[in-house]
């Protein structure tokens, strides 16, 4: 449909605000303003739409009711989410967006199916189908990601026999429904409903086999999907602001997905379809080899007396134990004794890209102490002590040395190059990839502190203070 000039210009303004908002998200100082600017862009687009398509009073009233309810739910959830749970709530907000795109596409198809065939445009039909498929996958996939991360269901990597066959069959059904629609076959609305149903199933099937460590990738990918679904629904509605905003998000989500899978050293298709590494494989033998274990006092005195430079390596276990503040306290205590402390952040340290940075920022660790993998890896050789909390796979030297390891090729932090290594860990159980870590058994170098991350770090902090 043709929009009024005022609306088109308002949409243009909204698009510019989105672009400028994302542009200044690059710097921590201006990022907050960038987010607000994008929000203003959203408001402009919504108001322009309401002014363009004047509805009658009852429709507007219904819209108002739904908007108030949606805003209340969104806002209440958003102010309550703890930072550790951020990934699942980003997934949830992402999923409802994908669901909305699928519903829009579906209702556009319904409208189109009422028209005689010659008036149905092939390209628009394609956009509608794409919107239903990708939107549906994003909705259901995000829902599964949410339940995984919230630890409600589908934890770990869930697989069943013939999974790939089932996936392929589902995909074929979707293709059949799509072809039927495109050639103007019978029962278009029913075909679209089948398409929607299959896309929801595909979303579930796509995400259930993916284990915890690969979650950052899935979340980026689903974010990109919802962006693309929004762009597709923009095509079917002839609405440029949806196309622009959707394409921006599709592009950003794709880049983050690429960066994350590069950080895991595996291709996207391997992560999505090569499910299950070696879960549990070596667990049995892991407990038989000797390790050097220490008490908080031993570690405190080692840090106080033998270490001038210390690097902390936080993993998701730190967040699970809510030990970010305890780690920040240890940092400040060591700094008071004149030691240099840095944090090495692996790209997949949290459950979404950059998650660990957010968690440490919450604990008031200055951003300039958080160093990326590429920038810090050469420093381990000159580092006296490394303290690894709640991380395992990202410091596992087998990734570098054993070509047959399930995590072979994954870039790791060279913690094993430091003079002393401390692991704070509940037990010797392997990480998400289920691979034993030879660094545990390096009795000369490594000290294991078997403890809850928070209690362990508090104990070490106290011990360092006593030494000082």
């Amino acid at each position: 449909m043709t929009l009024g000039a005022g609306t088109t210009l308002a949409y243009l303004a909204a698009a510019v605000l989105f672009i400028f908002g994302i542009r200044i998200l690059r710097s921590p100082m201006t990022a907050r303003a960038g987010n607000l600017i994008a929000a203003v862009g959203m408001l402009v687009a919504v108001v322009a739409t309401l002014l363009e398509f004047k509805g009658d009073a009852s429709t507007l009233l219904m819209i108002a009711g739904v908007v108030v309810a949606g805003s209340a739910l969104g806002a209440l959830t958003a102010v309550r989410v703890p930072m550790t749970s951020m990934p699942q709530f980003v997934a949830a907000f992402n999923g409802v967006g994908g669901g909305a795109a699928a519903l829009i596409s579906f209702s556009e198809l319904y409208k189109l199916s009422q028209l005689p065939l010659p008036e149905q445009n092939f390209v628009i039909l394609l956009a509608i189908l794409f919107g239903i498929l990708i939107g549906g996958v994003s909705f259901a996939g995000s829902a599964v990601a949410f339940t995984k991360l919230e630890e409600i269901a589908f934890e770990g990597s869930v697989t069943f026999p013939l999974q790939k066959v089932v996936n392929a069959l589902m995909f074929l059904v979707a293709v059949a429904a799509a072809v039927n629609l495109l050639i103007g076959g019978p029962m278009p609305v029913a075909s679209a409903a089948v398409m929607l149903g299959v896309s929801l199933l595909l979303g579930v099937l796509l995400v259930i086999p993916i284990g915890g460590a690969d979650m950052p990738i899935v979340i980026s990918l689903l974010n990109a999907f919802t962006g693309l679904a929004a762009a597709a629904s923009g095509f079917s509605l002839g609405n440029t602001v949806l196309i622009i905003a959707g394409a921006l998000v599709g592009a950003s989500g794709s880049i983050l997905t690429y960066l994350m899978s590069a950080a895991l050293g595996r291709s996207l298709s391997k992560i999505l379809f090569g499910a299950v590494a070696a879960a549990g494989q070596e667990e049995a033998e892991a407990h038989d080899k000797p390790v050097t274990s220490g008490e908080p006092d031993d570690i405190g005195s080692m840090l106080a007396n033998e270490a001038d430079s210390v690097i902390f390596i936080p993993g998701y276990g730190l967040a699970v134990a809510q030990a970010q503040t305890a780690m920040a306290d240890l940092m400040r205590t060591l700094e008071q004794q004149g030691k240099e402390v840095k944090f090495a952040i692996h790209p997949v340290a949290g459950r979404m890209p950059g998650h660990m940075n957010v968690l440490l920022a919450e604990a008031k660790v200055p951003a300039d102490k958080l160093v990326d993998l590429e920038d810090i890896n050469d420093e381990f050789d000159e580092t006296d002590a490394v303290v690894i909390v709640g991380a395992n796979d990202v410091v596992n030297p087998t990734a570098r040395e054993d070509g047959n390891s399930p995590i072979a090729g994954m870039p790791i932090l060279n913690a094993d190059h430091a003079r002393r290594v401390v692991f704070v860990k509940r037990s010797l159980s392997p990480g998400f990839a289920g691979i034993d870590n030879p660094l545990f058994y390096d009795q000369e170098r490594t000290m294991m502190l078997f403890s809850d991350a928070k209690e362990g770090l508090e104990g070490v902090t106290q011990a360092v203070k006593n030494q000082g």
């Binding site: 990022a31 398509f53 409802v96 967006g97 002839g238 950003s252």
Partner: protein, 97 residues
Amino acid sequence: MAAELLSQFVVLVLAVALGFELISRVPSLLHTPLMSATNAIHGIVVVGALVVVLTARETLTMVLGLVAVFFGTVNVVGGFIVTNRMLEMFRGGGRGG
């Protein structure tokens, strides 16, 4: 119709190119807020959902549209607020150091 679709395609490709250009320069420090902000931006589907509701002639499309408006609003409002909360901490952390 064809000309309109073509110009929309031009807009799409330009927006994708711009998206790549904008995002590849964001430091990894800010990846989570970035993702959360773009997550809120794809809540633009709320505009599409409003169009569906305001142009609906049958109950079915009206209901589908209203559900989509609800979903879209949750996406937009939740997304922007959560991003703002995260970015507030980054500023605080920077000052505290």
